[in-house]
Symmetry: C2
Subunit: 398 residues, 2 copies
């Protein structure tokens, strides 16, 4: 999930989206799309077939998606659910029970959303609309929460990452204590996007121990399923301990259902009710069945994780062999330090039909690369060598 | 679309929905479902297959759905769109352009929603959260707007229907003038649910002529596509005239996509931006393609309309032959006057595996019947004769 840093949801629909034509996305979706510098957004209207061909032609390493699509088990569940396409009330594949079983929580701990993005928006609406409330979080991190804050005229208190690109937990604690009265909630993306680095279990515990107990903490675990590091752990147990923690999960990453829109939050019943009051989206019949099937097909997820991490490690090793440094990653994407401005390099990749991540200021010399298929990664490697013919120490042709 | 009159979205999720287990619906969806007295909601958890069999066994004449499901053209569009199931940004079948082409409006006049239900909620959030703002509308009408008002602690000013069950336009005008300062917006369901009666073009014009010009008017045209009466017309031209009118349309009725979640509002650019700021839902890839295909397949919609109206007229004539009066309908449902309390009759139908509409107080002696397939209507007719063996003048066995 990806949002540009400076697009206001509230203001831009009449402008940019109105000219999108063939891409009738929601404001957030549209922002993601145009942020990636997609060539499609610039095409004239009425050229759907051609633009789909063009879309097909790109290696898509820009949105941290699962490039393989849903596994057979999930596709079958969706095909079955077509029988409910025309219905309001119907058996839904037991999606809620699949979630409560998985996490050992009760139904009142769960808020389903049209992707975890809806839930991040809803937390902002629920906790930042009182007078002068702010979100405290890291910079850079996943931008959706900060953008939502801007759109509802709330401020963000952003704590820079540490020198090793890890999140600064003592800094977040200090900022929260300093602005306690005005802190609507703390946002922690774990593992973090765009860096791929984790916050450890011990660090989460320290954060919760040292902040005032009534400060809500939103912990976005979108990339949870790709982590190998044993020092990492989900924060769902803190919800069961009664802390005002909101853990969000998505089916858009390892479950390959970004276009189908499903995510959920695990939180206290009190917070769940507060969030639901601000929620306007509903979830389609197919993705309810898909989500339940995805949670059951642990073999498919394990396979995607293995293939993805193997390809990530290979790509990072290749870059190291060319003399480039990378940030250690626990996700299905990684950052490589180009030691030069990233924007022209992004454009060079696009010329070679490879879409890579947008700039994430202030990290303007790092390129974020999503891990695609083996073929896509080979196209990335080839393009990289063309753009940097002399490796890290040589010139580039951008 | 159907909501029970007294369920607060804000309060009930921790209660009723938490016990739903297999039916992990949104609050609104869950309310619809339980309101219909569905036997599924009462089943213990973990019995999905059985409950689906039971669901299959009912004639479903309770939610005003299209019983035939999406036509081949729409199914093909959705099958194609599965290639985008794992993606955020993708060609979307030109859904926005299909809508703007159909209505002769510009993209900035359109707000897409996860069903028109999301848009009705959003209008409430946008126009009823200021101090002491109220919605003015008819009673009974589609309850979603009133329920949303209750959940955000706003009031509704409800104007009773006329003796012929038509909406009381002079009454709505008078109520609006009387409460002008406190009127957030006027809600008009046209044709009206649950009665099936229309407001004429001339009446809409009169309403707009006589109310203060700055009062927003939300006109819900969910059942637009079933109308035959030449005195009816869409209110979209009033948007183009610059009036603060919001017309909502849904793909949940004639387009048979209720479970896929797509609707839209046509309104002024200013109102569109205000609505979008309160919207948290997003729309899935499949229904974008489905919606565009549905708008193009006018033959399929014409066929559904014809079959549905033929079956409705036949059912109503049958009831007349038994001595029962019906309310004239311009929709895919109708009301029959039972001359006795409707709730026990609903339960008798359910025993016979026929789901019919819930009670719509204060019309507690009218039964709302959605028009199903020919087979479902035959099952309804058979059950009706069993429940009322003596016709309208005889006793019933309830």
């Amino acid at each position: 999930m990806d949002l540009p840093p400076r697009v206001s949801r509230r203001t831009f629909l009449g402008g940019a989206a109105a000219t999108a034509g063939m891409l009738s996305l929601s404001p957030v979706e549209f922002a993601r799309w145009t942020a990636a510098g997609s060539p499609l957004a610039a095409l004239p209207q009425g050229r759907r077939r051609q633009s789909e061909d063009e879309w097909d032609s790109y290696a898509k390493l820009h949105f941290n998606e699962n490039p393989y699509g849903p596994p057979d088990s999930v596709m079958q569940a969706m095909q079955h659910a077509f029988k409910f396409a025309n219905r309001y009330g119907y058996p839904d594949g037991d999606i809620l029970q699949a979630i409560t079983d998985l996490h050992g929580v009760r139904p009142e701990n769960v808020v389903l959303g049209a992707g975890s993005g809806e839930l991040l928006d809803v937390v902002g609406l629920a906790y930042l609309t009182d007078n002068d409330k702010r979100v405290v979080g890291s910079d850079p991190s996943y931008g959706s929460v900060y953008q939502q804050a801007t759109s509802i005229k709330a401020d963000a208190i952003k704590v820079p990452l540490l020198d090793d690109y890890r999140q600064d937990i003592p800094g977040l604690i200090a900022a929260t204590k300093k602005h306690y009265r005005n802190t609507g909630f703390i946002y922690l993306c774990n593992p973090n996007n765009p860096t791929g680095r984790i916050v450890t279990k011990r660090e989460i515990q320290r954060l919760l121990d040292e902040i005032p107990e009534d400060v809500p903490v939103l912990i976005d675990e979108a990339y949870h399923h790709f982590v190998e590091d044993g020092d990492y752990g989900t924060s769902i147990p803190h919800v069961l301990d009664g802390r005002p923690v909101i853990v969000t999960r998505t089916f858009s990453k390892i479950a390959a259902l970004a276009g189908m829109r499903l995510g959920y939050a695990i939180t206290t019943p009190e917070i769940a009710r507060r969030l639901q009051a601000h929620q306007t989206g509903t979830i389609n019949a197919l993705v309810k069945w898909a989500g339940a099937a995805a949670l059951k097909d642990t073999a498919a997820q394990a396979h995607v994780k293995q293939v993805t991490l193997d390809l990530r490690k290979k790509a990072m090793a290749d870059l190291h062999s060319l003399g480039f440094a990378t940030i250690p990653s626990e996700t299905n994407f990684f950052m490589v330090h180009l030691k030069r401005p990233v924007q022209p390099v992004i454009e060079e990749f696009q010329k070679r039909k490879v879409l890579v991540g947008r700039p994430f200021p202030p990290m303007t010399e790092h390129l974020r690369v999503s891990v695609g298929t083996a073929d896509e990664m080979a196209r990335f490697a080839k393009a990289f060598r063309e753009i940097f013919p002399g490796g890290a120490t040589g010139g580039s042709n951008d």
